[in-house]
Chain length 329, copies 2
């Protein structure tokens, strides 16, 4: 393998990070383990929220739970075998319960908040929680500063989770704003991971509200440009549709083609020559030439990541192909 | 009935408060309801604690849950039908779990803490939580100021719950200290309840660590002395033993006889002429004369309160007898 850094938001990025974690574990166990391999996942915190007085980090938790083997993979969030007693009580108390937190999940938020109030950084707390759950990979929030993604719909501005969870992203997003982003700084840990990476992978998460906030942390994209490692992205759009979530509708709203090529174009316009490689699903193989014309080389692969085997194989393919790509930037 | 104020700590006081609540409800439903009856429970907060960054009020919760009909009455604390997923996660995170909080119970602490951080008083929050759970009675913390009961054992000073729960009060308590008590003040609500009471009942809770902190709130005992209502206490010692907890051992340590008469003596020494009446169990009927020699009149009754019927009947007996007692103070 290599020293891999994955940028991840929710579902897609988390699954790919899981694939790298599985591939890495398999590599370590095997005879060809050259040492020095590891995985860092830099996670979006723009959709963090304050709920019941607690600091909730949905994307971090999804990645941590998945890599700890305790995510409810059918539901796609929260803990497997979860109970819901706390939510029932909170509802009786008149607290908002549209953002559902299971009992074990609530404990995560309680512990995180306690440690933050005690002065720990989100980076430190995330490391503690992940380590306690047996996660091998380094899970890093994109920054320790509060950044809050806001979405403008026709009726006005909403907090990200109000739009995404409460209203099930039914309203078209007219505009995305990242509150606090100007004052945010990448952490030492994020900068070190990027600087020391053998490969940087932009996960197949929503380019606007998952990857967008990470790349928008002032100095973070510059670090990616300056890094010696190739940077590759995996398309969240497959056969013209987002696997999950509103990425396809958001792409359409920008006037860009809703396809893997459209995603490549979006990144190329925002971050010219940043991507050295671009991974598309087999069903989008016909788009390869158009994407390569934008700059990045293209890998065609099975990107659906339905099971553990598929995730690990995709990760291994990406590494084998990606580490030797020439840097464009 | 009457306007009844009960001072309560844990189990015994909570059960008696429940009896008054049941008797009051029965009285209201009946044809003899004269109106103007109500119940206020003033609850010890000296054994509150900070846990997982949350404000936990064990005595308040016991009273509220019991009067809401959702206490786990077999266990004696927490919620009936509780689940324990959060505690399992908190344990994985390395958080202390010797003070057990079920999932629904954790939600109570989360909500309380959120509201306190938002600037609500403990009195206000307690009222909100109790009302949300359908409690008819007014449940008041003894004060809104932080008071923390500390216990000296041979090995040094402990927080109350460290001694009581973590070490299961196995060590003899050499001394009780109420941190913060000098700066505490009774609330408007507590003063109004005492001033407007038709009967004040000191519940059969531990005189040292449950009732003691309530009476020690500066100005609260004075208000009881000044109140027009008779003040009666129910003995927590029956047949020479505490029904629950360490009251008997603590009484023995003060050099006072471990009996209902000893409890009466303890109160008479600390708060002379405060008690106009004293309720003992049938098994202690022989102590009546000795107790009356200390000042208060004595009611002999079944005080074990095993079931709802027994609780309500005891409460009714106490009211019928107590309201017409002459004030000694």
């Amino acid at each position: 393998m290599a020293r891999v850094v994955v940028l991840a938001g929710g579902t897609g990025g988390a699954k790919l990070a899981h694939g790298f974690d599985l591939a890495l574990a398999a590599g370590r166990a095997g005879p060809g383990d050259a040492g020095g391999d590891d995985l860092t996942v830099i996670v979006n915190t723009g959709d963090d929220l304050e709920l019941h007085g607690l600091h909730v980090s949905p994307d971090i938790d999804m990645v941590v739970y998945l890599l700890a083997g305790i995510l409810d993979r059918e539901r796609g969030w929260g803990l497997a075998g979860e109970t819901w007693s706390a939510a029932a009580m909170l509802e009786r108390y008149g607290a908002p319960t549209w953002f559902r937190l299971g009992d074990g999940d609530l404990a995560t938020q309680v512990r995180r908040t306690e440690r933050l109030h005690a002065g720990a950084t989100l980076t430190a707390v995330t490391g503690e929680l992940a380590a306690a759950l047996g996660v091998r990979a380094r899970i890093l929030p994109m920054c320790d500063d509060p950044v809050r993604t806001r979405i403008r719909i026709d009726a006005g501005w909403l907090d990200f989770q109000e739009w995404f969870v409460r209203r099930r992203h039914a309203d078209d997003a007219r505009e995305v704003r990242l509150e606090g982003i100007a004052r945010a700084r990448p952490t030492r840990e994020v900068m070190a991971a990027i600087g020391g990476a053998g490969l940087v992978v932009v996960g197949p998460s929503n380019p606007f509200v998952s990857i967008g906030p990470i790349l928008a942390v002032p100095g973070l994209a510059d670090a990616l440009y300056a890094a010696p490692a190739p940077v590759v992205a995996v398309s969240p759009i497959v056969a013209g549709r987002a696997i999950k979530g509103p990425a396809d509708r958001m792409l359409a709203a920008t006037g860009i083609e809703v396809s893997a090529a459209g995603v490549a174009q979006y990144y190329a316009e925002r971050y010219p020559r940043l991507l050295d490689g671009f991974v598309v699903d087999r069903s989008d193989a016909a788009l390869a030439a158009r994407i390569e014309a934008l700059g990045p080389r293209v890998l065609v692969a099975d990107t659906l990541m339905t099971g553990d085997g598929e995730r690990a194989r995709l990760a291994s393919e990406i590494v084998a192909w990606g580490v030797s790509l020439a840097r464009l930037a």
